[in-house]
Amino acid sequence: MTSVGGVPYHSSKNDIVDTAKPWMREAMKPGLTDEQLVSALQLFGLRRDTKDRWNLTLVLAAGDARSKLRDLVSFLRDDQSLRMNTLLDISAIDYLSYPNHRGPRFALVYLFKSLEFRHRVMIKVEVEEDDARLPSIHDLYRIADWTEREVWDQMGIVFTGHPNLKRILNHHEFVGHPLRKDYPCQKRQKLSINDPMVDQLEARLRELGYTVVESGEVHLGKPIAAKHQSAAEQGQVDRPRAKSEGAIGAGGL
């Protein structure tokens, strides 16, 4: 988390102000209809996603994504009639094994929602496999910092400009991106020792205006052994799981 909008992250501790704007206490204003939303976003050249028949999903094609994403997101956030002030989530989809899929392999769906008006929009950004990069929007929405990390961790999409693009769900020794369709579900990866996280803490300190003179000495304990003796000796560990595929084969319909 760097400074947001040029303002340091912290303001004075003591100014606890009630930041409530009037709309926060009122009932939600009626928002734009899907058509109005589409037309409001016309200039970004979005097309409506045919896959989504229940919500409004607009597709930002892979070619435009790199250049337009940030503008689009700032527009969504700042436009007086849109005010999509909440980024709910970024969900990444790997279309590798999607039947009859044409187009880039990955798509990222940004879920936006306005707290002022009753409307939501989902922006689907297509990402090519061989150049899986997108500009980061962590400075526009703070939550994007972590959601982007999650997307990178799980799907392997790089967000350029992200200050701390590290694994978040998986451990730091993990190789690969588990939610990609070509990652086998049962391919386990062991962790020998936890991440000391000094770098992250120091980065945070620097953001807060400190200068790190001497970073703490890191003590690494003994990495854990692959398998504990006693359990292995007893032969109690390796029990193959019943295979449901096999079951189907044997049983038949």
Partner: protein
């Protein structure tokens, strides 16, 4: 008979306390880490307070524990812990010069003992037992206030107040710079300027 037992007890305990005090101060001299030293010094204090009690000034003994062992040494221990990196890094704890420095006082000691030895030291049988019942009136003998005559340390009592005031202020002045530097202008979560434009 009982006087003898009492005498014996007094001597034995004085011997024990004196031994403890000496051993502890030797420990202080040799200690590797100041915290060790501090604990040794506390041992000295406790032994000395025992000796005070044996010498007939129990109040002083109590104050010795309460203030010296309980407060002053606590402060020292706290500072050792606060600074926390006070390991004496020199591998030989003494170098050549400091051994010389250590030996010099011995000469002084010899001279003092010599002088003491020459002096007969009779114990006055009328010496008062310095418990609180005696100390308190001595300290606040207000017959010394204007219009009266007598002795009293009431002024010293107030002076202690001044001394403490000065000490506290001086200490804070000294530590002031460090104190200020630790006051980080932390903030609760700042308003997210520019992050969201929520109506205006």
């Amino acid at each position: 008979m009982p006087e003898n037992i009492d005498h014996l007890i007094g001597t034995v305990y004085f011997g024990l306390f004196a031994l403890a005090a000496l051993l502890c101060s030797a420990g202080l001299l040799m200690s590797r880490h100041p915290l060790n030293g501090a604990v040794y010094l506390i041992g000295v204090m406790l032994s000395i307070s025992g000796i005070y009690a044996l010498l007939g000034s129990p109040f002083l003994g109590v104050i010795q524990i309460l203030v010296y062992a309980g407060a002053i040494m606590m402060l020292v221990v706290f500072v050792i812990m606060v600074l926390n990196q006070a390991q004496d890094h020199r591998v030989p704890r003494f170098d050549r010069y400091s051994i010389l420095g250590a030996l010099m006082p011995l000469a002084l000691l010899a001279a003092v003992v010599q002088a003491l030895h020459a002096q007969p030291m009779p114990v006055d049988p009328h010496a008062l037992r310095g418990d609180i019942a005696a100390i308190a009136p001595a300290m606040f003998d207000l017959s010394a206030m204007p219009g009266h005559d007598g002795h009293g340390y009431y002024l010293l009592f107030e002076l202690i107040g001044v001394l403490l005031l000065v000490a506290v202020v001086a200490a804070v002045m000294l530590a002031k710079r460090t104190l200020e530097s630790t006051e980080t202008p932390g903030g609760a979560m700042a308003e997210a300027h520019g992050a969201t434009h929520d109506g205006h």
